[in-house]
Symmetry: C2
Subunit: 433 residues, 2 copies
C-alpha cells in the first residue's frame, strides 16, 4: 500500500470507512488485554523457583567469610553477593559495590534523597538550594522522572539518538551549576532499547560539570537482558571510564536482579568510587542495621557464577524473544511503508517504542483502551507525563501470552492507522466526517 | 556489707586495695566478651530455621487473594502478612497496617524523612522550617536519636518514670508548635524494660499538640518479647485510644519480626489511620514498586496464627530468661545493699539498665573495656550520646552464652565497685591514691 501521506482526501475517507468498520468489530469482541507493564510473565518466574529451595531448614547460613546471615550486621552486604552483582553490572571490583534492598528503584530514590537531605560529599543539601535540575534523556523511564519530580527537581529533556542521549546538549547543560544529575539507562534503554555507544560513554566520563555534586545516575537495569544469543550489545564500564578520565566520583551505577530472579524480591546494588561509598555507608547506617542478607545468600548460592546467570537469562530470552517478534512482525506487516510510524527493533530489555505521527499518541492509546487493550499512558516516558510531540508509545510485550500479544497488536495497528487517518484528514482541511 | 557511703575514708582505701588486686587479676585473664549488642544468639536463630523451608521450589507462590508473590505489585503488602503483623503489634484491624522492608528502623527513618521532604498531610515540609524538635524519653534507643540528629532535629529529653515518660512534661512541651514528634518504646522499653501504664497511654492519646503534624512514633519493638509465661506486661492499643480521644491521625505505630524470625531478614510494618496511610502510600509509590512479598508470604505461612507466634516466643524466652537472670543474680548478690547502683528487673525486651552513682558510668565502661568486656558506650541511650548524670549503662545479655555472661557480669560489678570507690574517695577530698 502507498504511504498514507500520498493518499488523496477521497482515498483517505474510503480507507477510514473500512477501518471504522473493523474497529467496531474489534470493540464487539470484548478484549481485555494489557501491554502496559514491564513485568515478567509466570514462565520467567517459574524458572527461578530453585531460589526457593536453595536454602532450607538444615543448611549452613554462613556466608563465605563466616558471617551468620540470619543476624544483624554487614551493612554493605556479603561478599559473594557483591561478586554476583558486580558480574551482572559489569563492574570489575566487587569492592566497588554495596548491596541494598529488594529493588533498584528505592536504591535510586534513596540516592537522590540523601543528596536532598544531607548533600553530596560536603556540598549544600539540595533542599537548601533555590533550584536543582536534572537532565532527562527522552523518551525515558517514567519512574525516574517521578522521583525527580517528587523532590521538586526541575527536569530538562535531552533527546535520545541511536547512540544514546544527545551529548552535545548534555555537555552544554552541565555548565549550569544547578544541574545536579542525569538519568541514564545505558543498555537496552527503557523504552527504546538503545545501548549507548562507546563514544557516548566516553563523553559521559569526560564531562566537566560546573556542580561538584553532579552525578550520572547510571541505571544498568538490563545489563544481562539480551534477547539474542549472537547479537548482543555491550557497553563500556562507566565506573572505570570515569576513573580514567579523572572523575572517579561522578557516577552512581545501579543494578538489581528484579528481572533476573524475582520481581520485587530480588537484591539491588550500587557501584561507585570508594569516596562516594564511604559517605553513603555513613548515611545508610542511620537508616538501617543491614539489608536482607538471607536473600543475598540465596541469590549468591543460586546464581553461583556468571555462566549460571547467562544460562538463566538465555531461558528468559527464549520466552521473551517470540513475544517481541510477534509484536514486531505485526508492526512490520501492517504498518511497513505507510509512513505513519517508526520503531526500533530492540536486542534486549523489556520494551518496544513506537513513534507515531506527531499528535497521534494519545488518540491511539485512547482508541486501544476503548477496544479493550491497555497501553502505557501516552506521555509517560516524558518528564511530567508530557510528550511535546504526542508521538511516543511504549509497548511492553513481556507479560501477555503470544496469542494475546498478537490480538493486542492487531488492534494496536488498527488504531494507529485510524488515528493517523484522522490526523491527515484534519490536516487536509475540514472535519474528517 | 555496709553501704559504701557509710564507709570511712580508711575503710574505702582498704576496700579499694583489695579490688585493685582483683581487677589486675581479671585483666590478666585476657577476657574478650561483649554485652553491648541487642542481637539474638545463635539458638534463637536456629529456632526459626523452619522459615527457610516453608517455601520450596514446588510450592504455590500465591497469596490468599491469588496474588503471585513473585511479581511486582501490592505496594502495601499481602493481607495474610498484615494479619500477622497486626496480631503482633496489637492492632485490631489488619487494614490499618501496611508492610515495609526488612526492619522497622528504616520504616521509622523513612517516616521522618517523608515529613522532612514532603511534610505531613499538607503541612510545611520540615526541611523548610527554621526549627523542628522531638521529645526523647531518656534513657532511650540510640538509633532513634541518631535518626532525629541526622535530620537536624533538636532533641528534648523527657525523663522516664516507672509508668513511662513523664507525661506532665510531655503535655507541656507539645504546646510548642515546633515540637513535631516523640519517640516511644511503649512495651519493655529500650533500655529499661518499662511498659507504659494505661494512664500513660491514655494521656498520650489525649495530647493536644500545637503542631498539626505532631506524631507519636510508637515503636512497639518488643510487643511479644516476654521473658515469663505468667508475668507479662500488656499495653493499651494506642491507635484505638487515639481514635477514641478524637486524634486518630496522631500516632504512627511501628513493628517488625526482627527479633521474632531473623534479625535483619524479617518483615516490618506500620499501623496508622487511613488518612495517614493513604498519604504514606502515595509517597512510597514513588520510592518502590513493592516490598519483598515472598518474605511476607514466608512469614505468614510459618507464623500462621498468633498461637504459633506465642509458642515461638516462649522458646525464645527459654533461652533469654536464664541469661537475664544470670546477670541479675550477680548484680543482686554483689551490689545489693551497697547503695552504688540500681536496676529494674525487666519482664521482657532485650536489655537491663544499670544506674550507677552520678559521674561513674563512663569510668565503669572504660574499666570493663580495659579488662576485655565491651559494654554499650556510656551515654548512648541519650540524645547526642550525652548522659547528663553520666550514670546509665545499658546491658545487653542476649548474645553471649550464660557462662560468658557470668564472667562478664563478675567483672562488671568489680568495675562498678572500683569506680564508685574512686568517686567517693574523690568526694571525700584529696586524690584516691
Amino acid at each position: 500500500m502507498k504511504p498514507y501521506k500520498e493518499l488523496s482526501r477521497e482515498e483517505l475517507l474510503t480507507c477510514k470507512e473500512e477501518l471504522d468498520r473493523r474497529y467496531k468489530e474489534a470493540q464487539s469482541k470484548g478484549l481485555n488485554l494489557n501491554m502496559s507493564r514491564g513485568k515478567p510473565e509466570k514462565g520467567q518466574l517459574d524458572m527461578g523457583m530453585g531460589l526457593m529451595s536453595i536454602l532450607d531448614a538444615d543448611c549452613d547460613m554462613k556466608s563465605e567469610d563466616g558471617t551468620d546471615c540470619r543476624n544483624y550486621g554487614e551493612l554493605d552486604g556479603i561478599m559473594e553477593a557483591k561478586v554476583l552483582m558486580s558480574g551482572i553490572m559489569g563492574i570489575q571490583d566487587p569492592n566497588d559495590v554495596i548491596l541494598f534492598g529488594n529493588g533498584s528503584l528505592s536504591t535510586m530514590y534513596d540516592a537522590v534523597c540523601r543528596s536532598y537531605v544531607s548533600g553530596v560529599l560536603g556540598c549544600t543539601p539540595w533542599c537548601k538550594l533555590e533550584r536543582v535540575k536534572f537532565l532527562c534523556p527522552v523518551p525515558g523511564y517514567d519512574r525516574h522522572f517521578a522521583i525527580t519530580e517528587h523532590f521538586g527537581i526541575e527536569m530538562i529533556q535531552i533527546p535520545m539518538t541511536t547512540e544514546g542521549p544527545d551529548m552535545d546538549l548534555v555537555e552544554q547543560y552541565v555548565k549550569d551549576d544547578s544541574v545536579k544529575g542525569i538519568w541514564c539507562v545505558p543498555k537496552y534503554s527503557n523504552p527504546q532499547g538503545i545501548s549507548y555507544s562507546d563514544e557516548t560513554v566516553r563523553r559521559f566520563a569526560a564531562l566537566e560539570p560546573a556542580a561538584e555534586d553532579f552525578r550520572i545516575y547510571w541505571d544498568n537495569a538490563y545489563a544481562v537482558h539480551h534477547l539474542y544469543d549472537n547479537d548482543q550489545d555491550e557497553i563500556l564500564d562507566i565506573l572505570e571510564e570515569c576513573a580514567k578520565a579523572g572523575h572517579p566520583d561522578m557516577v552512581y551505577v545501579f543494578g538489581s536482579t528484579s528481572k533476573i530472579s524475582m520481581a520485587g524480591a530480588g537484591i539491588a546494588a550500587m557501584a561507585a568510587s570508594q569516596r562516594n561509598l564511604d559517605s553513603i555507608k555513613k548515611s545508610i547506617a542511620i537508616r538501617t542495621i543491614c539489608y536482607d542478607k538471607i536473600n543475598q545468600l540465596r541469590h549468591a548460592r543460586y546464581f553461583h557464577s556468571m555462566d549460571a546467570v547467562k544460562e538463566h537469562m538465555r531461558k528468559h530470552a527464549d520466552i521473551l524473544r517470540p513475544k517481541f517478534e510477534a509484536v514486531l512482525d505485526v508492526l512490520e506487516q501492517e504498518l511497513g511503508g505507510l509512513g505513519i510510524g517508526s520503531w526500533v527493533k530492540p536486542k534486549g530489555g523489556y520494551f518496544i517504542t513506537f513513534e507515531a505521527m506527531d499528535g497521534c499518541a494519545k488518540n491511539i492509546v485512547r482508541k486501544c483502551k476503548e477496544a479493550g487493550v491497555t497501553l502505557t499512558n501516552a506521555g509517560a516516558p516524558f518528564p511530567y507525563g508530557k510528550d511535546p510531540h504526542d508521538s511516543v508509545i511504549r509497548i511492553a510485550p513481556s507479560f501477555p501470552t503470544p496469542d494475546e500479544l498478537a490480538a493486542a497488536t492487531d488492534l494496536f495497528v488498527l488504531c494507529v492507522k485510524l488515528a493517523s487517518l484522522e490526523k491527515l484528514l484534519e490536516e487536509s482541511g475540514g472535519s474528517h466526517e
